[in-house]
């Protein structure tokens, strides 16, 4: 039987090798129809509905007749979908970014003067971003994202870790029980609400009191994003600090160290990887933050002159995409996808890094939850 040999090779189905012919046929229909649905949907055919119905039918039949096998296969499919979605995201945004790479080449990262970075020589561009002359260089936006993220993390990093230290080490249990959920709720304030606050109130406040020449600055965006990332950093760093085994702390206190010495020399170093994972997560959040940046910033695709001017009105990668996708097509749209690629790759690298760091911590603390 073709079906049983095929599916006998699937991992963890060996035990089900005593599959009946009906079950094997059901599995064959199920997997073929799923594949066909996916393929037809990719090809943008309305006929995709036909195999979808077959798939649902096969699952329904399997659920009634062979629940064990069906459950295992359906959960396997669900698990695989995570990889599939990440793959689809990767393929589609890279694919749509190709035309921009083709037109601009490495000029996508070009400055107004030719420069060589890490041995790669980048050609000069006349202007950084111009739909008229079809020139798209992401340099000002990358700079904007760098600066806002740096400002945000200068705020959210130290203050967030200090907040976590307060919750995990200093606060009495009653205060902790009240404040921790509060901090988690604060992490849920939608970014557009912060953005509205920044747009209506803070923008004009800074404009008047710092006598700025423009509304919206990298400084304000960084400030707001830092405030937004703060609860996330506190919450994750607090989890890392409380996961340090109490025996380690007790040992230190028994040696006559003060609480602060214990915190500084025992708890914090032991939780260092978890705390740095919290900061990395915060950085990831700050890089990807879109709405607050979009509504606050002034949208000029220029490098600030000079670079140290954090009060200049420029652009970040996210706000570029959100503000320009509406009237973009051709290379322009593709360049926006290229901005998405830069964001996606950066955050993915950070996330894998954070996960590595966390795993190291779990190993170091010997799996004590």
């Amino acid at each position: 039987m073709l079906g049983s040999t095929l599916f006998g090779r699937l991992p963890r189905l060996e035990r089900a090798s005593g599959l009946s012919t009906k079950a094997a046929a059901m599995l064959a229909v199920l997997s073929f129809s799923l594949f066909a649905t996916f393929a037809l949907f990719l090809l943008n055919s309305p006929l995709a509905a036909v195999p979808l119905v077959a798939f649902v039918g096969a699952v329904a039949y399997g659920w009634v007749a062979h629940q064990d096998v069906t459950a295992r296969v359906v959960t396997l499919i669900a698990t695989t979908s995570t990889i599939a979605i990440l793959g689809l995201i990767t393929v589609f945004i890279f694919y749509r970014a190709i035309p921009a790479f083709r037109v601009m080449g490495t000029g996508l990262f070009g400055f107004t003067d030719p420069v060589t970075v890490f041995g790669v020589s980048l050609p000069a561009v006349e202007t950084f971003w111009s739909t008229g002359s079809n020139t798209y260089s992401l340099v000002p936006m990358i700079w904007g994202t760098l600066v806002t993220t740096a400002i945000a993390m200068v705020i959210a990093g130290p203050l967030g870790i200090a907040g976590a230290l307060f919750l995990a080490e200093i606060a009495p249990p009653m205060v902790r029980d009240a404040v921790k959920p509060g901090v988690e709720i604060l992490a849920g304030i939608p970014s557009i609400v912060y953005g509205y606050l920044g747009f209506v109130t803070l923008n004009t406040f800074l404009f008047e009191n710092l006598r700025m020449s423009n509304l919206g600055s990298l400084f304000l965006v960084g400030l707001v994003i830092g405030l937004m990332a703060l609860p996330t950093v506190v919450s994750v760093a607090d989890d890392a600090l409380t996961s340090v085994p109490a025996s380690m702390r007790d040992g230190s206190v028994a040696m006559g160290a003060t609480e602060w010495q214990t915190t500084k020399s025992i708890t914090l170093p032991a939780a260092l990887s978890g705390v740095s994972a919290a900061v990395l997560l915060g950085i990831g959040r700050a890089i990807g933050e879109t709405m607050a940046a979009t509504v606050i910033i002034g949208h000029s695709q220029q490098l600030p002159q000079p670079l140290a001017d954090v009060f200049a009105s420029t652009e970040t990668l996210t706000s570029l995409i959100a503000s320009q996708y509406g009237n973009a097509d051709g290379t322009h749209l593709s360049a926006l996808f290229a901005a998405g690629v830069v964001l996606f790759v950066t955050v993915l690298v950070l996330s894998v890094g954070a996960r590595r760091v966390e795993l190291r911590m779990e190993k170091k603390l010997g799996g004590d939850p």
């Binding site: 749509r96 907040g163 304030i189 109130t201 003060t258 000079p306």
Partner: protein, 517 residues
């Protein structure tokens, strides 16, 4: 963890040094808070405290603090107070004051206009290094108080001698901003007050390790308080701004709540509301839950119950974490490139649902997996010992036991996606309108594939977060656009935060129940 820590054995009455130090800390908190309010322009230089101008009051307070810290520092060095100072103030203290010296000298060269913006930099660094080394030569009581005295006296002196007035202005050419005295003075007094209070707290603890603990705890506790205060201020600000417009024309009997129950009618005589956006958000949330959560729970079941650790599980973990951290705007781009052309070619509610479902999936997968993992193995063993098959065990023992954790994860995940704007912006859009989308009433069967059609699903629909964005970008025709925005922000905040509150309350309830079992 153990709560037993060393406590002071000798508990006689407070000494003079402690009393001076605690007075310094008290004044420091007052000066700091007033300064922060002044930076936020809640109080201005026109205000007066105890008959003198606010900024002069801050300076006098700071001067008092400086003198007080000087007294406890010198007194300790002369042996007047019973303290246990270390031989050096430590690298942290020396480093902080070194950095301050470096910044002060650099800013002073900028102010005087000598050496140019970068020329003063090495001079500043040199001053910092000298301070750092110099402090290292002093004993802790002098080394940690003296520089604080210098800073406090310098700042208050500059204000009291009118070297620094509210009318003072520094407008560097290389910044698009200018710093006026009315902003600079409170910023400086706030920083100096914090620094001096820190020195005071160390003196209060009698220097040494106890003193450093007192100093650190003061700063950490102040940070926690300040953080909560700022975040609560954000919420309160939005509530006070938004509650008025949101409750315009509200009446309990006969029940009417125009802002929530009306659409946006573009008519001046009717209260414009957000009803369509609420309905749209509801469809989005329900749709995303229906598409994302079952997949997430199924994957969590497979990963914990069927799969063994290996390359496949490793790849899935990387993919899940990658999806978890992928920026929302990238999801938007993906939906724009993948879903929109395949689902009718225009931005649509269905695309929005699917993209948010994709976003919800990793959130729920991670929490569900944790929940299923935490079900004790005894449950599974007991079930297997009764001869129940693996799937039956999962279905009737494992998943029900993990349900509280799964539900909590779903609620928190939904709270997060309910406020998402960036993906909706790209795949759904949908502006202000009068009528709510009617998805359930628009199903139709057709003769051509895909045989089922639903116009409402394939059209753009309004949603609360996007509507708030739309009030900013397009501007609303009426004059009260800003009020309408605040009302929308308030309703959105209430919707999202109640998801979070319910989710966190559920988690606390089940955790407590598990702990007592």
């Amino acid at each position: 963890m153990s709560d037993e820590y060393a406590s002071t054995l000798v508990t006689d009455e407070t000494t003079l040094g402690e009393r001076v130090a605690s007075t310094v800390i008290g004044i420091g908190l007052l000066v700091f808070m007033l300064s922060v309010l002044a930076v936020a322009r809640v109080v201005t230089e026109e205000a007066s405290v105890l008959g003198i101008g606010l900024y002069d009051f801050l300076a006098v307070g700071l001067l008092t603090m400086g003198l007080g810290v000087g007294v406890v520092g010198v007194g300790s060095a002369l042996g007047a107070f019973d303290t246990t100072p270390d031989q050096t103030p430590g690298t942290v203290t020396a480093g902080v004051f070194g950095a301050i010296a470096a910044a002060a000298v650099w800013l002073a060269t900028l102010q005087l206009g000598v050496l140019g913006p970068l020329g003063g930099f090495p001079v500043g660094l040199l001053a910092g290094a000298v301070t750092f080394v110099g402090l290292g030569l002093l004993s802790e009581d002098i080394g940690s108080t003296l520089p604080a005295v210098v800073v406090a006296v310098a700042v208050s002196g500059a204000v009291l001698t009118n070297l620094l007035t509210p009318a003072w202005l520094w407008d560097p050419e290389w910044l698009s901003a200018a710093f006026s005295g009315s902003m600079t003075i409170p910023t400086l007094t706030a920083a100096a007050a914090l620094l001096t209070a820190w020195a005071g707290a160390k003196a209060y603890g009698g220097y040494g390790s106890e003193g450093r603990q007192a100093g650190a705890y003061l700063l950490v506790a102040l940070n926690a308080l300040g953080m909560l205060a700022v975040l609560l201020a954000v919420i309160l600000f939005i509530v006070t701004k938004g509650i008025g417009p949101a409750f315009e024309g509200f009446s309990l009997y006969p029940f009417d709540w125009p802002f929530v129950l009306n659409g946006y009618s573009f008519r001046p005589d009717v209260v414009n509301g957000v009803f369509p956006a609420i309905v749209g958000t509801l469809y989005l949330v329900v749709g995303a839950t229906v598409t994302g959560v079952p997949v997430a729970v199924a994957a969590a079941v497979f990963l914990t119950e069927y799969a063994e650790q290996g390359p496949f599980v490793g790849a899935v973990e990387i993919a899940t974490n990658g999806l978890w951290s992928t920026p929302s705007v990238v999801y938007g781009l993906f939906g724009y490139a993948f879903l929109v052309p395949r689902l009718g070619g225009t931005t649509s509610l269905l695309s929005g649902i699917l993209v948010l479902g994709f976003m919800l999936m990793p959130l729920c997968l991670i929490t569900s997996r944790e929940a299923i993992k935490s079900v004790p193995d005894e449950y599974r063993d007991a079930s297997a010992a009764l001869g129940v098959s693996q799937w039956e065990t999962i279905k009737s023992v494992v998943v029900p036991a993990a349900m509280p954790g799964i539900v909590t994860g779903v609620i928190l995940g939904v709270g997060r996606i309910a406020g998402e704007t960036a993906p909706i912006l790209l795949v759904m859009s949908g502006g202000l309108r009068d009528d709510a989308p009617n998805v359930l009433g628009s199903f139709e069967f057709t003769s051509a594939p895909p045989f089922v059609a639903n116009d409402a699903l394939l059209q753009s629909a309004p949603a609360l977060p996007y509507q708030l964005y739309a009030t900013i970008t397009s501007g609303v025709s009426a004059d009260n656009a800003v009020e309408y925005g605040w009302g929308t922000a308030f309703v959105l905040l209430v919707v999202v935060l109640s998801f979070y509150a319910v989710g966190i309350a559920t988690r606390m309830y089940f955790r407590r129940r598990l702990n007592y079992e």
